[in-house]
Amino acid sequence: MALMTFIEAIRDTLALEMRRDEGVIVLGEDVGRKGGVFLATDGLWAEFGDDRVIDTPLTESMIVGASIGAAVNGLRPVAEIQFADFIHPAFNQIVSEAARMRYRSNNTVGVPLTIRAPYGGGVHGALYHSQSVEAFFTHVPGLKVVVPSTPHDARGLLRSAIRDDDPVLFFEHKKMYRSVRGEVPDGEFVVPLGRARVTHPGSQVTVIAYGLMAHYALEAADRVAEEGISVEVVDLRTLRPLDKDTVLTSVRKTGKCLIAYEDNRFGGYGAEVAAIVAEEAFDYLDGPVTRIAGPDVPGVPYNHVLEDWFMVDPEKIAAGIRKLAAY
């Protein structure tokens, strides 16, 4: 058991997996000597050398496309996209190629590839260093999408992602890198993909969240607990495949469901969760499935007053809970 920051858990897990399996390589912009712009790969180049820690040119489509090829020919690449905002040039390679290789080849070719990317706002990153991009990829069959919220889950899920035989997108909220700490068991454990976790049991309202919002949901639950509202928080951890059972079990129990996500509201990931809950828990609902999400503007604006306006925070979630509880 060790107390680690979120980013330490990621860095150490990369090192552990690289020691365990020499097929694991890390590639991306500035991941080598510099150790990544957030230092998530710091020390790997010194330990594993040029062949396994590759400072690539500034070309995201190449990073993903070449990783697909390397995965096909026996490696397990872990590609870093420097910011989730810069994954878009690689969209075609991810969506048309990585996601479809197994299906289109009738299971003769798989792509064991992990793509890591820092996402999220609240760090003065403005339109292009704050994006939540999960909705673009959770829609795509053939991809798995993971968003851990604790150092423990970061380790367990990153292990699962790297060992998985299919492409996994692994999104890390950059505001959590150094602000979130937690215990990480020493041993060889994994957190399986596709399983959510109830992080706070409760009876009146279910709050569904992931990443930074999973923390804010807990804070909001604490705030409203003082007011006598009992909240159950579900941390999804894997967005695709979604653990419907855990979600529906909770909502069927509480009868009320609020989904919190930081991305733009319209067409965001929470819409799918809301749609599933609305359809499959209909008979149990005592109030409308509610979403607390980012406003529909083309990016988080920079100036701090605008950024605060944009960001979902514990108070906004708490307000949503209060309203739903009173319904």
């Binding site: 390589i25 062949d51 396994r52 690539t56 040119p57 070309t59 489509s61 190449m62 993903v64 496309g65 070449a66 990783s67 697909i68 090829g69 390397a70 995965a71 096909v72 020919n73 026996g74 490696l75 690449p77 075609n92 390679q93 048309s96 190629e97 479809r100 290789m101 197994r102 299906y103 289109r104 080849s105 009738n106 299971n107 003769t108 070719v109 798989g110 069959p141 053939g142 798995k144 060992r163 998985d164 035989d165 299919d166 399986p192 993909l193 596709g194 399983r195 695709r240 495949p241 979604l242 653990d243 799918e272």
Partner: protein
Amino acid sequence: MTATDPTKAKAPAAGLGADLGLSDEDLLGMYRMVALARAVDERMWILNRAGRIPFVISGQGHEGAQVGVTWAFQRGHDWIAPFYRSIAMCMTFGMTARDIMLAQYAKASDPSSGGRQMPGHYGDRRHNLLSVSSPVATQILHAVGIALAAKIRGTGQVALTAMGEGSSNQGDVHEALNFAAIHRLPFIFLVENNGYAISVPAAMEVSVPDVAMRAAGYGIPGVVVDGGDVLACYAAARTAVERARAGDGPTLIEAKVIRLTGHSSDDQQTKYRSDEELAASKGRDALPHFRDQLRAAGVLTEAIEAALTAEIVAIVDDATEFAEAEPDPDPSTAMRWVYAEDWPAETPPPWGFGDGSHG
């Protein structure tokens, strides 16, 4: 009947292939492959016009370059990321006429995709032929990645990809050549320049007369070869493969080929190509040229030619009948293989095994 194995020493051949280390058997094998690919391809069109198969995209006019280049690679060892015109390339690397026909009919036993993809989207894992998708040029990065893994793992493999000159303008090509050149990867880029991207003539899609002129901008060799000359294509590829295996990095080979058919069975090329131009391009076809070469060199005797023609007709007939008779895929399999199903744990993965929504 097989691509050469450059790791094996060869007895020097006399005659036409001597300079290139090709025996008469090699030459006949190459010729057979060009002729067979053409025959399979022509059959596809007949089947299409007869309403048996809804769509054809063809390699006619590209076969010479494909066979010549592919012959320099080692089957079962090297890798190829082909494109939709790569019938002759795929066949040279191990796919059979049946395999190609199964793709046309999209049958369950189609090795490319089990009937999931359109015809033309070949691939065969058994022969290191990577599955083709439709968005053009993406495959260049896959081949570069395969070469990267070969270098890191020290396998000695070389990776080849091919595409048209129109596709070579995609951004992925720039990113791929830059990366492959920086790391001196064992990678070869074949551009099959047939002068058109569907209806758009080369002058409107490529800003230079030869795509090969772009190689210098990456610090790699760029060679232009006549795609009508099978042996010239082989020679260029052999040099490139040697360079690649020696650790000297990638090569761009541009083969000037012809497109003997419309872009696909959906295209009416007379709308944008004149009769004269079409007639002139036929004069550059590798098949008759190679036939004449081999005849003149005494390699292709009348007896051999007659036997070959008969063999090819039989192969194509067999492939057609076989593919036509094979069953369609079972729709109950359509949900399968979205994800790997050989899950290592004892319990099935949370997303199930092809039995419903994977969302």
